[in-house]
């Protein structure tokens, strides 16, 4: 493995993914309450895993250009689909956890301001989960 | 190469033992269900490392998806805390 430009780029992408995953895990233990922990956990690990996917995509595209076999390209495309699945599901899960925590009555620690406290939300009556699913899929159209 | 794979397997097994002990010691049943979910996640990763992707996909579907859902339905219709003996 000689150090061409493509190889250096791939290794840099890999290091970025390591750094941000480590940072997210660190933030999970340093921050004081659920909401701030969600900040660290969602953003940093999504970003880190995104860069892991970019690494694999760049690696297999490079091999496809060198070797010319279609299975390398196939791998790049599937990794891209995994990346899209991760990007759609991860913020939605974080939103669900934050909402559940607030409904349970957990106050944000050291809060300066809380507009949601005592606000009367007007939500259509049916179950939230069902509503959310259909609106998401309608969004795909 | 094999050394790295063995190290990963060692880490995953340590995680499995930790989460399995947590399932036993938690008194809050919903926390126990969460720990069981984490345990079956790591078990799927272990199958993946042993190059059995079909078993891993079944473990992911049954362990992480279905079992947690069924346990939560059961906890919802009974009580949340374990009784003291």
């Amino acid at each position: 493995m000689t150090l061409t430009l493509a190889v250096v780029v791939i290794i840099i992408l890999l290091y970025i993914s390591w750094i941000f995953n480590g940072l997210g895990t660190m933030g999970l233990h340093i921050f004081p309450d659920v909401y701030t922990r969600l900040h660290a956990a969602t953003k940093c690990t999504t970003f880190g895993t995104m860069f892991m996917s970019f690494t694999v995509i760049a690696y297999s595209t490079r091999l496809y250009i060198i070797e010319g076999e279609a299975r390398f390209l196939n791998m790049a495309i599937h990794t891209f689909i995994a990346l899209i699945a991760l990007l759609v599901t991860n913020p939605t899960g974080a939103h669900a956890i934050a909402r559940a925590a607030h409904k349970m009555g957990i106050k944000p620690a050291e809060a300066v301001k809380d507009d949601l406290e005592g606000a009367d939300l007007q939500q259509k009556k049916p179950v939230m989960m069902k509503k959310k699913d259909t609106s998401n899929e309608e969004g795909d159209k | 190469m094999t050394l790295i794979v063995q190290l990963i397997q060692l880490l995953v097994l340590i995680g499995l033992i930790m989460t399995a002990l947590a399932v036993i010691y938690f008194k809050d049943l919903i926390s126990a269900a969460i720990a069981l979910g984490a345990s079956s996640l790591l078990l799927a990763l272990q199958f993946y490392l042993l190059r059995a992707p079909d078993v891993a996909i079944a473990e992911a579907a049954v362990g992480a998806g279905l079992t947690t859902a069924i346990f939560i339905f059961a906890i919802k219709s009974t009580q949340r805390k374990e009784e003291k003996r």
């Binding site: 340093i30 909401y35 939103h95 309608e138 159209k141 | -």
Partner: protein
């Protein structure tokens, strides 16, 4: 008329997803052209069309629930793809922001209300996900009648609506409304 249009658009969407998933998956038997490994074989296309017809017949009342066909316009999809570029830079900024706060512990959290003035469900969904992925903000709850969002902000500042959502709303309005 509207029903057949819903059927057709669902069919196109399903076929597109199938063809994207099976791109470069197998060899077409056709020729020795350099593309023969990448494009789909004849059997693959026939199977994709029949599966997409089945999916469209079953799910067109779910996927096109509101009978609103604004997303049939391919220009909107192009804008949606272009939107990922500013989103990516905002995400990068978000991560350095979190890195800074992890190291210094400089937080001042609170929950604020913003009114992004969007009308469609797709737009609100996109905005909520984008807000969750960008610096120091996390969507907690949504008012579905007035389309207002409640945001957990890690460093409360002035004028939340403009500061948090101003960058995205002008992009999202282009493709979702």
């Amino acid at each position: 008329m509207k029903r057949s249009k819903a059927f057709f658009s669902t069919f196109l969407f399903a076929l597109f997803v199938y063809l994207f998933l099976t791109l470069a998956a197998g060899q077409s038997l056709a020729t020795e052209s350099p593309w023969s490994e990448i494009i789909w074989s004849f059997e693959e296309i026939v199977l994709g069309i029949s599966i997409s017809l089945l999916v469209a017949a079953v799910t067109n009342h779910i996927l096109c629930r509101k009978r609103n066909f604004r997303m049939m316009n391919p220009g909107r999809w192009v804008i949606m793809l272009a939107y990922t570029i500013p989103l990516f830079f905002e995400m990068a900024k978000a991560n350095f922001d979190v890195a800074y706060r992890v190291n210094t512990g400089n937080i001042e959290p609170g929950i604020v209300k913003i009114d992004p003035d969007l009308k469609t469900d797709l737009g609100v969904t996109f905005l909520a996900n984008s807000i969750t992925l960008t610096p120091g903000t996390l969507t907690v709850d949504v008012d579905e009648e007035k389309n207002e969002l409640y945001i957990h902000w890690i460093k409360v500042g002035e004028d939340p609506t403009e500061t948090i959502s101003g960058r995205f709303v002008k992009w999202i309005k282009r493709f979702a409304e």
